[in-house]
């Protein structure tokens, strides 16, 4: 079942084409990785799905609903995890999760909140520590917990693995697979070719706002993908 799709989606900023006629769809339980240089249009795509910016033409759809101008209703299906999850430093993990869940209209008991954090891979000992002591990877786990708590159908991630150490990246990959297994659709913009292959996703390569290639990770090795990527851009 398709939960996230783009139909001839284009975006212009002051005359320059940031996104050109994008067509794609992501199904339930599927991970889609978007590769491309800085400025290729990855973040623009994510912003269009979040409704932070309106498309110049075409449609961005979530669960069959056009994001613009219905972004307030489509947002309930989407969770967003930015490159650095900058939550509130003076609150602890549980409190942050509670705050963001309430924003989405959910009220959970403490034990439930803890279970979301555990599921996202955050150890119990960290739950009540101030967020300012968290590493980048730990913050990201809180971001994932927020997505879980919101019961989002789609998780949009912006360069989630940049700056993570290899162990943390490995753990992240594992969690992504679990999320997909639970039926979430994951759409991530990334530079990390190896992770893209490992997470077992469909992979798109973008260049100057256009989606040039789309392939599946089981069709290709990481090295071949890197070769293709370098040739494309």
């Amino acid at each position: 079942m398709t939960v996230l799709s783009a139909e001839q989606l284009s975006k212009q900023y002051n005359g320059t084409l940031a996104l050109n006629n994008l067509n794609l769809s992501v199904d339930k339980g599927e991970v889609f990785c978007l590769l491309g240089q800085n400025g290729a249009g990855k973040t623009t795509t994510i912003n269009l799905f979040l409704g932070f910016t309106a498309a110049s033409s075409g449609k961005a759809m979530i669960n069959g609903i056009e994001v613009h101008p219905n972004d307030s209703s489509t947002r309930q299906f989407v969770a967003y995890i930015p490159e650095i999850v900058q939550l509130y430093g003076n609150l602890n993990g549980i409190e942050n999760l509670d705050f963001f869940s309430r924003l989405a209209g959910f009220k959970y008991a403490g034990a439930q909140l803890s279970s979301f954090l555990l599921k996202a891979g955050l150890q119990e000992t960290a739950h009540r520590r101030s967020l300012s002591t968290y590493s980048k990877g730990m913050r990201q786990k809180v971001g994932i917990a927020i997505a879980l708590a919101k019961n989002a159908d789609v998780i949009l991630m912006d360069e989630p693995t940049s700056g993570l150490d290899p162990k943390a990246t490995d753990e992240f990959t594992r969690i992504c697979k679990e999320l997909a297994a639970d039926g979430k659709a994951i759409f991530m913009a990334t530079h990390d070719i190896f992770n893209a292959v490992n997470v077992g996703a469909r992979i798109g390569i973008m260049k100057q706002g256009s989606l040039v290639h789309t392939l599946h990770s089981n069709e290709i090795t990481a090295n071949e993908l890197q070769q293709l990527y370098l040739e494309t851009i």
Binding site: F52, T53, V85, R102, L103
Partner: protein
């Protein structure tokens, strides 16, 4: 707009502020200053009120104790009236320190209200005084700016803003919620100040506090809440449209400096520049010139007084004033007093008119500067504004005129027309007459009158609040997360 989401933002900013150590220290300093200001305001009120009541009482006792005298001597002995302080001057000193506190009232002459604090001050007074109103008007807004400048801009810089929005929060909820949270902090400070004020008032006035005082304190609470709403809305709006928190802070500080430091002085200076006031000497010379034109009582050949005399003699069919059935000297002085008071009052009204014109520049500018609007309202409610002062001056002059004419009437009625010889006892009347003349009782304008005068300022505050709310509504549809 979802109420619970809005509440969430409000609570977040409110409790975060109270949890933050630096901000706690800042709010603590403000609280200490408020207590200090209340204490020192109460002390000044008590000291000055006691002094003034003491001397007002002494003046009255001495007046009643005067022995039998010629009434005109009594008119020159005169009276001294002291400007009573309003209880709320504890809260807002207003112009208190710059206005005269005592006027000597005598026949023929309008003396200035003298002995202002400013006259006895080193230049220090010009830096301003620490009053509760100053803290609430000037310092608290800045504290709110310091607390709230990053309310949205920091989230934007961090990328947290995108997460907030992706979780389903709307701009309207974010802006309104954060503004309400900030307002919560400001109102907490305000409530604290009002409680301290009530304690101070109870401490100095005790059971003498009346309904009017309570009503005025209530008005203070309302108008300041309105003012703080403007400040808080402004803070979140600037924070929302700024790319970075630093930029937001710089803009807010700029707004504060313009509104509080530069704008009022400039507006008042423009008023001064446009409307010239005479110096004391020019004013007095103009009064004297008009007076001489009308009739110079000092000049024995003055045509006005000659005509007056002739008409009186004719009406009573007598040859000289000695034959008149009443004291002609008193009669002539009564006429002279009427003339001179008339002319003086005309000139004074002109002068006060110019002052009012000068002040109007600042007053009218309240529509663009809510700080000015609140300052005027606050002074008016506290009975320390320009209107209260001129009100006192006018009542003192009315009392002086009544006193002089009362003494002239006594002279007309009771003093013989015959000039006493050198060895006669000088003519005098019974001291019982002194008590008849009532003491000076200053009548304050009612709160209704005061508010009517300050309708413009109130309107300015309401317009600002409404305008900013409208702006939030508009911005909610325009603002971008990226």
């Amino acid at each position: 707009m979802n109420i619970s989401t809005t509440k969430l933002f409000a609570a977040q900013i409110y409790w975060n502020t109270l949890k933050n150590k630096a901000l706690r220290v800042l709010l603590g300093i403000v609280a200490l200053l408020i207590i200090y200001a209340a204490f020192s305001g109460a002390l000044i009120y008590q000291e000055q009120t006691q002094t003034r009541q003491h001397y007002q009482h002494e003046v009255r006792t001495n007046w009643e104790k005067m022995p039998d005298k010629h009434p005109h001597r009594m008119a020159h002995y005169g009276y001294i009236v002291f400007r009573p302080k309003h209880l709320l001057s504890v809260f807002d000193y207003g112009m208190e320190s710059f206005t005269g506190n005592a006027v000597f009232l005598e026949a023929h002459r309008q003396n200035s209200a003298n002995f202002s604090e400013a006259g006895f001050s080193t230049g220090m007074l010009r830096f301003g005084e620490i009053s509760m109103s100053m803290i609430l008007q000037v310092l608290v807004p800045l504290v709110i700016f310091f607390i709230g400048f990053g309310a949205i801009a920091t989230d934007r810089e961090n990328g947290t803003l995108k997460m907030l929005l992706s979780q389903g929060a709307t701009w309207k909820e974010i802006l309104t919620g954060k503004a309400i949270g900030l307002l919560g902090i400001a109102v907490s400070v305000l409530l604290f100040a009002v409680v301290v004020l009530l304690v101070a008032c109870l401490g100095i006035a005790g059971s003498q506090i009346n309904g009017d005082d309570i009503l005025r304190i209530g008005t203070v609470l309302l108008t300041y809440t309105l003012y703080f709403s403007i400040i808080c809305l402004l803070t979140v709006i600037i924070s929302a449209v700024s790319r970075t928190a630093k930029f937001s802070l710089v803009i807010l500080i700029g707004i504060w400096l313009t509104a509080v430091v530069i704008f009022p002085r400039t507006a008042q200076a423009i008023g001064n520049f446009l409307y010239h006031t005479p110096s004391r000497i020019a004013f007095e010379a103009a009064v004297e010139k008009d007076l001489i034109k009308k009739g110079d009582s000092h000049n024995p050949d003055d045509p006005y007084y000659k005509a007056l005399k002739d008409s009186v003699l004719k009406a009573y069919h007598v040859q000289s004033v000695d034959e008149l059935p009443f004291n002609y000297g008193g009669f002539q002085m009564k006429e002279g007093e009427r003339l001179s008071a008339d002319i003086y009052n005309q000139h004074l009204a002109g002068l006060l008119g110019i002052y009012q014109q000068q002040n109007n520049v600042l007053r009218l500018s309240a529509i663009v500067n809510p700080f000015t609007a609140l300052r005027n309202l606050s002074m008016a409610v506290s009975g320390t504004d320009f209107q209260s002062y001129t009100g006192f001056q006018q009542q003192a002059e009315t009392y002086r005129y009544a006193l002089a004419q009362h003494m002239n009437d006594l002279q007309i009625k009771y003093i013989s027309n015959k000039k006493p010889d050198d060895h006669d006892h000088p003519p005098s009347i019974s001291k019982a007459h002194w008590k008849e003349f009532p003491d000076f009782a200053y009548q304050r304008a009612s709160l209704g009158t005061v508010m009517y005068h300050e309708l413009w300022s109130l309107l300015a505050l309401l317009c600002w609040t409404a305008g900013l709310l409208l702006l939030i509504k508009l911005l909610s549809n325009k603002l971008k997360a990226i």
